[in-house]
């Protein structure tokens, strides 16, 4: 068991391709949280509704960056929209991504129009930019606000299936590769959607707490509790699906299990079994269960929810790693495994990945300077 086809020695899809589904997952998840408020009227989520929409937007801005860095010919990226070959699952990417981006931009435009108008009226360079964003029309009345609200609601509604499509589609890209038994499963589509929602909620919780802490705000307790419960529910489904997939292959003991079993045993023991499942799934599950089922003091509950959310952020990242990299470690000869770990400073290395992942938070900070994402945040009493 040590033969790898000669062209497989170097892994084709690097940590950049791990990052790409991770970031699109954050987009889809954050968008769905905002839609829970805008479409389903979950009032508890109101304090993070804008924040989540803006988060979806900033992550969306960076979702394609790792792809561009990974492409051998990044200047030809638009070929995917110029001459899409629709027998390919990937050909739709350009259109799906563009349509979804447009939708998010439009929703932000309608949801935050009042704030943009207020900012535009304050003048200055930023005000001028806001004026440009508003296309020069600063007219506002109760009627326009109502109209914007209605349109935003429709967009948010349309956005839910699109968010699922955008991200489930990423799962499909992997799930449809029949040559790779670690990827080839129709469940991949669903697993990706649910893990996306988990990561989206998790990043909102994580970030909301961090922002509140930095600014000395009081977190909105019902909102956090509600997010915690949603996170718990979605993570149960996500992990259950992930387990279901591997358990059914393992239980059926088909030919592919012979290699997949060895893949898990020899190559993915730490990242998959120990970290993804035993540490970063089981512990957050227990923590969230405690916070959801028992009456805890706010401080303790918040600490638990924040810890669980942060761990789940890692869980989803690990899951992306185990899918994307794990699948490539297995040689198509089914007779051996290769190795991969990104270098720190290489083009598709860890440093670049860290920068790509940090940038959205920076943009979000700028965004917040222009349009406050937490207009009603209360200061923590000292």
């Amino acid at each position: 068991m040590d033969f790898v086809f000669p062209n497989e020695v170097n892994v084709t899809w690097t940590v950049m391709i791990v990052l790409y589904p991770y970031i699109t997952g954050l987009v889809a998840g954050a968008f769905i949280v905002s839609s829970l408020y805008h479409v389903f009227g979950v009032e508890a989520l109101r304090p993070v509704a804008r924040f989540s929409l803006a988060s979806a937007f900033v992550f969306l801005l960076f979702a394609t960056l790792p792809l561009l860095i990974h492409l051998g010919q990044p200047t030809r990226a638009f070929n995917i929209m110029v001459t899409p070959n629709f027998t390919s699952a990937m050909a739709g990417f350009g259109y799906i991504y563009s349509a979804y981006s447009l939708l998010v931009v439009l929703e932000i435009w309608f949801v935050m129009r009042s704030e943009f108008i207020a900012r535009a009226r304050r003048g200055g360079l930023v005000g001028l930019c806001c004026r440009a964003i508003l296309l020069g029309n600063l007219f506002e009345s109760d009627a326009t606000r109502a109209a914007d609200h209605r349109i935003a609601r429709v967009l948010a509604g349309v956005g839910i299936p699109m968010a699922c499509l955008l991200h489930g589609y990423v799962g499909f890209l992997f799930g449809s590769i029949k040559a790779n038994p670690w990827w080839s499963t129709p469940l991949m589509f669903v697993i990706f959607i649910f893990s996306a929602i988990v990561s989206g909620i998790a990043v909102l919780i994580f970030h909301y707490f961090v922002v509140s802490w930095i600014n000395g705000w009081k977190v909105d307790q019902p909102c956090v509790r509600s997010l915690g419960r949603y996170l718990w529910g979605f993570m149960i489904v996500a992990v259950a699906l992930e387990l279901l997939e591997i358990m059914s292959i393992a239980y059926k003991q088909t030919e592919e299990w012979e290699v997949l079993g060895q893949l898990i045993e020899q190559k993915l023991m730490i990242t998959y079994v120990i970290l993804q499942f035993l540490v970063f799934s089981l512990v957050p599950f227990l923590l969230l269960a405690i916070s959801a089922l028992f009456k805890l003091r706010d401080k303790l509950a918040n600490a638990i929810i924040w810890t669980a959310a942060t761990m789940l952020l890692f869980q989803v990242l690990l899951m992306r790693w185990n899918v994307v990299v794990g699948g490539q470690l297995l040689s198509k000869s089914m007779r051996g495994f290769t190795d991969y770990f990104p270098g720190l400073w290489e083009k598709e290395g860890l440093a670049v990945a860290a920068v790509i992942f940090t940038l959205p938070f920076g943009i979000l900070w700028v965004f917040n300077r222009i349009v406050p994402l937490f207009p009603n945040a209360e200061r923590r009493s000292a």
């Binding site: 638009f78 001459t83 070959n85 296309l135 009345s141 009627a143 326009t144 609200h149």
Partner: protein, 302 residues
């Protein structure tokens, strides 16, 4: 949220709609403009790419006919021997540059044992019927003591089997038909595995007494075909080694510096002839004129 919204309440979206329409139209237009001219000509790909695939690369492996333009003699020899189906450029590498420069540009002339062992090194995975050696064993077997001796001291790569070019006076045994005598008009591939051919005959079928006689002689361990090399040129002669040219016997019996001590008895040639002094200088006497008893009787009374 007011229940009744009028058309006017959406007026602030008109510019946005205009921008969107412009964007979509612009994008569609940009896309249409960016599609390559021949895309979709034959299928969902750029038609002109096919022509590039044909012309971007120029063949470097030119083939035996090109080699034969200048090296007719070599190619002719090569085509008669065991390496007949080994293309020239398998050993010599691509010949384009060499041929285009009419020989001025060098062509690879592989040297060293490695050049032969690429194919003939004994490997478990090589088909059993393929000639392969462990070269040290082979040297020991044929009595070569000096390991620096190259394969080419005995084997001409163009005619590896017949070893000595002048031995081509040997003739084809009349009873051994050439493949094409029976397999006329069939594809070459059907002739490739003679070892799978059902046995036609053994030497003893016709030459029983000679084979029997041979078994008692000093050369008994040598196979008939080791000396009676079949050659394809002319089947009219009954004898296989026409003249038992001394050079033939010397292939095994030469007392050369690279021979080991257990090699067949070495003979200094032509000193041996002079030593014996039994025949005049110019007569190219055959070995078997004196050493007949070491081989076998040529006429055996029934």
């Amino acid at each position: 949220m007011s229940g009744q919204l009028e058309k006017n309440d959406f007026r602030h979206t008109y510019r946005l709609i205009a921008v969107l329409v412009l964007f979509v139209v612009g994008a569609a237009f940009a896309r249409w403009w960016a599609v390559p001219e021949t895309f979709g000509q034959f299928g969902r790909y750029r038609g002109a790419a096919v022509a590039s695939a044909r012309t971007e690369t120029v063949p470097r492996y030119v083939g035996e006919e090109t080699c034969a333009d200048c090296h007719e003699d070599q190619v002719e020899l090569h085509d008669k021997d065991a390496h007949a189906r080994v293309p020239c450029e398998t050993c010599h590498g691509p010949g384009k540059e060499h041929a285009e420069a009419e020989g001025e540009a060098p062509i690879a002339r592989p040297e060293g044992k490695g050049a032969c062992l690429v194919c003939h090194q004994r490997l478990a995975a090589r088909p059993g019927s393929f000639p392969q050696i462990e070269w040290r064993e082979h040297y020991k077997f044929v009595g070569v003591a000096d390991e620096s001796v190259e394969c080419t001291r005995c084997h001409d790569p163009h005619e590896p089997l017949y070893m000595d070019r002048d031995l081509r006076t040997a003739r084809l045994h009349p009873m051994i038909h050439r493949c094409r005598d029976c397999h006329q008009g069939r594809e070459d591939e059907s002739l490739e595995r003679p070892e799978n051919h059902p046995p036609i005959f053994e030497c003893s079928y016709c030459h029983g007494p000679i084979v029997e006689d041979f078994a008692g002689r000093t050369h008994a361990s040598v196979r008939c075909t080791s000396c009676h090399i079949f050659f394809r040129e002319d089947e009219s002669t009954g004898r296989i080694i026409r003249d038992a040219d001394p050079r033939f016997c010397l292939l095994c019996h030469r007392a050369a510096d690279f021979r080991s001590d257990d090699a067949p008895p070495g003979i200094e040639w032509p000193a041996h002839r002079e030593e014996m002094g039994t025949f005049p200088e110019d007569a190219d006497k055959r070995c078997i004129d004196c050493h007949r008893e070491n081989i076998h009787a040529s006429e055996v009374s029934q």
